[in-house]
Symmetry: C2
Subunit: 409 residues, 2 copies
């Protein structure tokens, strides 16, 4: 079952008939953008003009949605004079904007509505940081794990990439759509919020890989092989099942900005890369294996009795302990590649917007990262330069605004 | 006739049989990337894995090639100890890299060859700046117009975005391919060149617009309506016909980095935007017209006898004078949209990588820009912050390296 089908299926849980919602989604995907209504009928729409992801549902879209090609991840800080009432106003505006734009309709405040003619699988996903709960006067509702992660041995965090009171993950298969949607969301939040950081990322374009093929990062490694795919795996690893109404069906987002030393990686040979990664570089299979999706077996040895997979490799250390098989998470990772910084340490400014989703960062991201920080061979070439944690509230029904349970009178 | 067909047709002029070249291109597009040879046969390749643009030809590819979705435009400065012989070495390496990668094969020095599995219409195009001719000991060959453009009234140029001794325009329909190809070209030039500036840009993804539909910039304006399309128009406006062997079939590139005041534009209503632009915003048609491609007639008036198109509008001032109908050029323009600069004047860091091709910048870009700088209503919202001029040598035959006529013994 594809993640998207699983998401629709879950709608039953909210008392929204799955059939009705699917019908609504189909209707939305056929609705013309405002700008197009004035143009003569065209024979056939280009595929990205009808590609929509349903906004409403048990879970927010953009988490189990197959990764689109382009990302803007934006962290905001709440302005000083904003209170609970004004946060509610912001959420009403933002939810309406996001619901409209993801259906291929322009925001009500958008005069450049032609730029939204191809929704291109746009998703807009809300995350809440610690201070949101303070301003919302709901500190008792704040999950225990919603705080800065513990410090790791290899951290090189920079304040400019850390934290944030709120975040938006904006993804689509068209960079113009992502840029325009981000502009609208930033502009309409300006009375309430300041932008803290923006992380822009990309993966292969639609049509460059086979459907469902695992994309590679700029080190050439397949990234996301052991991601959850089946509904049960999402249930076990990603969706929060307990807690208040606003939280059940939600998830936890950890964002790490990871700088990659392309100069250092470039001088490694393929064998060293494979050893450090713990996977075959060409197929992504476990060392000595043939298929990307074979299970990694750390006990396998070569003809000299030596372990096939280096115990200090990234894969060996990232694997969950036998007694905690759900110590895994959903990587929803994008590449970044910017012009070199003026006093940067490398000839490039390249890395990962490492976004991952889970039930509880302290039980999933944290123990994995602690092991990696202690021993991962990859630490020679990767550097965590930013860190943030957000809680993603559950999805909305068609009449709700984001986080309504937390902000309603 | 599509620009691409026109380009193939022109091959006759170099004594390379068009048929042979087309066959070579087809062969290249079917060749598997090195990494794929190890994988079992797959039923059907995704479209961008077989999408190649022929590298060799009368003209360099990437000029009359339909604009791909992603751009890196890179300016380099030649290191102090580099001489004519070393420039020749660089051109041999670079040409081989570019010829291989645009055919979907990895550079010979590339260990991450899986990243090149989808060439995605990759083109890599070389431009030469003033100092190239000095180092190549060919100053007599330098075109007269190859120098910084005259200063314009509205210029706000910043040294960081000006000039360059060489440039590469790297374009593809996949951002990973552009990033990886750029990395290889930069890395393999490191003994010879320093990167001066990198301008990354984007347009809509393949599948977001109708084939051949004019894309919009982030002000919502259609950009490129009057671009040359027919072979005759390219001949009249873009390709240099006279001069030395290396120059005939080449072109002149002007790069302007144009910052856009999104904050100011946002508060304009649609009528003001239309007046400043000089075109209908929805269709891109001349004011009062219906079709984007109708000819603009500045003498048309409304019921009060007032001109339909404001004489200070962008379109009115950009139009060629009647006696100089070829005072036009090929806009090959991309959007940029980066996180706001620390002390930037706007809430966004948005604009155009305005790249345009022509026979002679002093007879095409310059007079147009002079009129625009004097009176364009758009000047309230656009700011030229960078400027560079390059000459693009003619295309190569299969056994040649770039600019071979200038560098051979």
């Amino acid at each position: 079952m594809s993640p998207d089908l699983s998401r629709r299926h879950f709608l039953g849980g909210l008392g929204v008939a799955a059939g009705a919602s699917a019908a609504a989604a189909a209707g939305a995907s056929q609705a013309h953008a405002i700008g197009l209504e004035r143009e003569p009928e065209k024979p056939k729409k280009p595929p990205l003009q009808t590609a929509t992801v349903a906004f409403d549902g048990v879970h927010q879209a953009g988490i189990d949605t197959p990764s689109q090609s382009h990302l803007w991840l934006i962290a905001f800080n709440i302005k000083k004079d904003v209170d609970r009432t004004r946060l509610r106003n912001l959420m009403r505006v933002w939810t309406d904007d996001a619901r409209r734009m993801t259906a291929g309709k322009a925001s009500r405040t958008d005069l450049d509505y032609e730029l939204m003619q191809a929704p291109a699988n746009l998703t807009i996903t809300l995350g809440l940081g610690e201070r949101f709960f303070e301003v919302a006067e709901k500190e008792a509702e704040k999950p225990d794990w919603l705080k800065p992660l513990p410090a790791y041995k290899t951290d090189e965090l920079r304040e400019e990439w850390n934290g944030g009171d709120l975040c938006l993950q904006i993804c689509a298969d068209d960079p113009v759509v992502v840029s325009h949607a981000a502009r609208l969301m930033i502009r309409n939040s300006a009375p309430y919020l300041d932008v803290h950081w923006i992380q822009e990322g990309f993966l292969n374009a639609k049509g460059a890989l086979q459907e469902g093929e695992t994309p590679r990062n700029l080190f050439g490694q397949k990234d996301g092989t052991i991601n959850p795919r089946a509904r049960e795996e999402f249930k076990d690893q990603v969706w929060i099942e307990n807690g208040a109404d606003w939280l059940r069906g939600g998830s936890a987002l950890v964002v790490r900005r990871i700088e990659m030393d392309m100069d250092g990686w470039d001088i490694l040979d393929r064998i060293s890369r494979k050893v450090a990664t713990g996977r075959e570089i060409d197929t992504g299979a476990p060392i000595g294996g043939k298929d990307e999706f074979e299970t990694v077996d750390l006990s396998k040895t070569d003809e000299y009795g030596l372990p096939l997979t280096d115990p200090q490799s990234h894969v060996a250390l990232a694997m969950p302990p036998k007694e905690l098989p759900n110590q895994k998470l959903l990587r929803r990772v994008y590449n970044y590649d910017l012009p070199p910084e003026k006093d940067g340490r490398f000839t490039s400014n390249t890395g990962l917007v490492f976004a991952c989703y889970q039930k509880n960062p302290l039980e999933q991201f944290h123990p994995i990262q602690q092991r990696l920080a202690e021993g991962d061979r990859m630490n020679q070439w990767i550097f965590h330069i930013g860190s943030a944690v957000f809680v993603m509230p559950r999805g909305t029904s068609e009449s709700e605004y984001w986080a309504q349970d937390l902000l309603a009178d």
